[in-house]
Symmetry: C2
Subunit: 408 residues, 2 copies
């Protein structure tokens, strides 16, 4: 693997200050799963009564830890809960050995922390196809358990990184019934999957009290509008996981609270966009807004077709306002479109309308706009009320370097 040490040009200036989430504690350690000289395992332990919701990759070749989490989500919220994540090895495509590793780790976490095994969730990210050296993780569990502290979420964000060039965190606070409810989350991921080591993992914690089934329903809908609206390279990891834990420590029931839902969605969108901003080789962050589609689902199909088109992505890398490629992507998406009703804008610049270039369009204006780092492409299909927004990055030599050149 190439050592890509340069931080993405699209990275935030600094890791944000994350409010402490009462009822959740974190610890990290250097277990030497694969990397040397950095932390690579994080443990989170949540107080009894914590609701845990989760969404996972839809890949048909999901990794063993994902399958284990999926079985456990929706169970009792009675006792404490724990999350253990390692980087360096994905424990993916490791046959029955992979399942045994998950069993070994979850059992050991249960023994050390006192959390029931069906409330112990794990994720692994890193190389595929190599057996997880789970004994190295198990050997550090006592150290981890005795180091748990409520202010170590940033450390956790660093421990789960693989090809990421910066750690990702986001937070929000809302007032409900005169009390403050906090949400803090971390994420990793810089391609949908990377060299041999990547995936998107997200862990969000709140001190709100939310019933598990309500939390799960909220998470599903919000994932569709956030993490399922981003794409770096159209490839999907076998390990993508998002766990959302509501400790209830604030004493505030936020089960059907709209402000809480909005705040949570904001945190998810922030983290999702940070993953795009760390897209492999990315130099431009691109928002693609599609309106006027027959349905919202159709709008998203168009948006993702544009966002995933190698020709659109390379045009953006080349700072080329190549609206012809946008038309091409809309045409191939499979969703309804009428060439002669389309209008396309780059930023505020109306480029094409009614199936042809706009009479006022001057390419030099659009070419100047394309030099920016944060771009917006707007497409109106002129067919109906369906709309959707997706986010992506450009396709550059950096992507090829990271994904093709690492052996040469």
């Amino acid at each position: 693997m190439a050592t890509i040490t340069k931080v993405s040009p699209l990275a935030p200036a600094a890791f944000p200050e994350l409010p402490v989430i009462n009822g959740a504690r974190f610890a990290t350690v250097e277990a030497g799963v694969r990397y040397q000289g950095r932390t690579d395992v994080m443990l989170a332990v949540m107080d009894p009564g914590t609701s845990v919701a989760g969404v996972f990759t839809r890949s048909a070749t999901r990794a063993a830890p994902v399958l284990d989490c999926q079985e456990k989500i929706g169970g009792s919220s009675e006792g404490p809960a724990a999350i253990l994540v390692n980087s360096g090895n994905a424990n993916a495509f490791t046959g029955h050995y992979g399942q045994s590793s998950v069993a070994e780790v979850t059992q050991a976490v249960s023994s050390v922390t006192g959390v029931a095994v069906d409330r112990v969730f794990t994720s692994s990210t890193g190389v595929i196809g190599e057996p997880l050296p789970h004994e190295r993780i198990v050997a550090q569990l006592d150290v981890l358990n005795s180091a748990l502290q409520d202010d170590k979420l940033e450390d956790a964000a660093r421990a789960i990184m693989t090809t990421d060039t910066f750690p990702k965190g986001a937070s929000a606070q809302v007032e409900i019934d005169g009390k403050t409810v906090s949400i803090s989350g971390i994420a990793k991921g810089s391609g949908m999957i990377a060299p041999d080591m990547a995936t998107m993992l997200v862990y969000i914690f709140t001190d709100a009290k939310v019933d598990q089934s309500a939390l799960q329903a909220m998470l599903g809908a919000q994932t569709d509008r956030t993490f399922n609206c981003i794409t770096v390279d159209s490839d999907t990891s076998t390990s993508d996981s998002l766990l959302l834990c509501a400790t209830g420590a604030s004493g505030v029931d936020a089960t059907d609270n709209a402000d809480f839902a909005d705040a949570l969605e904001g945190v998810m969108l922030d983290l999702a966009q940070q993953v795009v901003r760390d897209g492999e080789g990315a130099t431009k962050f691109v928002e693609i807004r599609v309106t006027g589609a027959v349905s919202g689902a159709d709008a998203k199909v168009h948006g993702l077709a544009i966002a995933n088109s190698p020709l659109v992505k390379t045009a953006i890398a080349g700072e080329d306002p190549n609206w012809g490629r946008v038309v091409m992507a809309i045409g191939k998406s499979g969703a309804a479109a009428d060439r002669d009703l389309l209008s396309i804008s780059f930023g505020d610049i109306l480029v094409a309308e009614k199936g042809w270039v706009s009479p006022d369009y001057r390419e030099e204006d659009a070419a100047e706009y394309m030099k920016g780092q944060n771009l917006m492409i707007t497409v109106d299909l002129g067919l109906g009320d369906g709309e959707s927004t997706v986010w992506t990055c450009d396709l550059t030599h950096g992507y090829i370097e990271i994904n093709a050149d690492y052996r040469s």
Copy 2:
């Protein structure tokens, strides 16, 4: 646009000798549509009674010439037929002006050649969104018409090139009832669509006599096994067109002849593979065979998911036998797969089986294999009898150079 003058390393040694097709004549000219110092328009005129079949892009934003051809296919085969193709300008996304241009050109071809306008087919390939300077084409029609000769198909292959690095031709001859039937075809294309100039155009001619509806049915089935099984970058042109003309001049009726069908499919596959071999930036030609799928359709979904995955394509570029990425692509394809039944081979090297790396696998063997120029990836899903083969190329810095760097 970058001037990419280097011929693809995957190009055939030379343009093949194409047998003359009696009943079809060709001419080319420098009309200056956009390029200078090269031919950019080709005219083909076929004798009365020629059956013309066609398949076209399914894009919802199809170009005006495509829509015009689609209307005409399936009409009478009575009189002569003509095909006029220009490179340099795609006449795509040009609003109502685009339709007028097609009408102008087809009417003028009809006047000059005496072919009824509903038997005049046109294609345009090149920049999108700019009005076609059809008057430059019309001005050359007398010259073209008086230059028609039966041995100028190679010239035609050159006149229709855009970003292609080599002209593409293929042929076959079969004995039917003691007589020789010939098939000669040409193609252009080097991405599904390219910088501002590309698309896949294919013109095949035979002196067999085949009823139009039979010819159309044969073409549709064979396209699904040839041109619809190739991908360079997953992007689809707004202008892709394939026209198949059977002049009947051999006097041999090949309507339900299996040998003829096989020969035609061979020509189509040869041309399709040449398009992949001219894929933008390609350095490796890759055959992907999927077996053991629930259905043939499922097998093709898996094959194209592997072929279109940027991570698989960059791994191939990096000569990396990265089977984990193949597993990833299968997982995300949406078609049925069972992780623990998969087996994957690179060439003859069994890499993974039963959901894990094969016990006999030595990575150095596979790494050596990946250095080859022509590669085969075989996946058995272990689920059923469905199978499919698709062809693709790698994703390299060359692709980024062609598609992103041309303005810098």
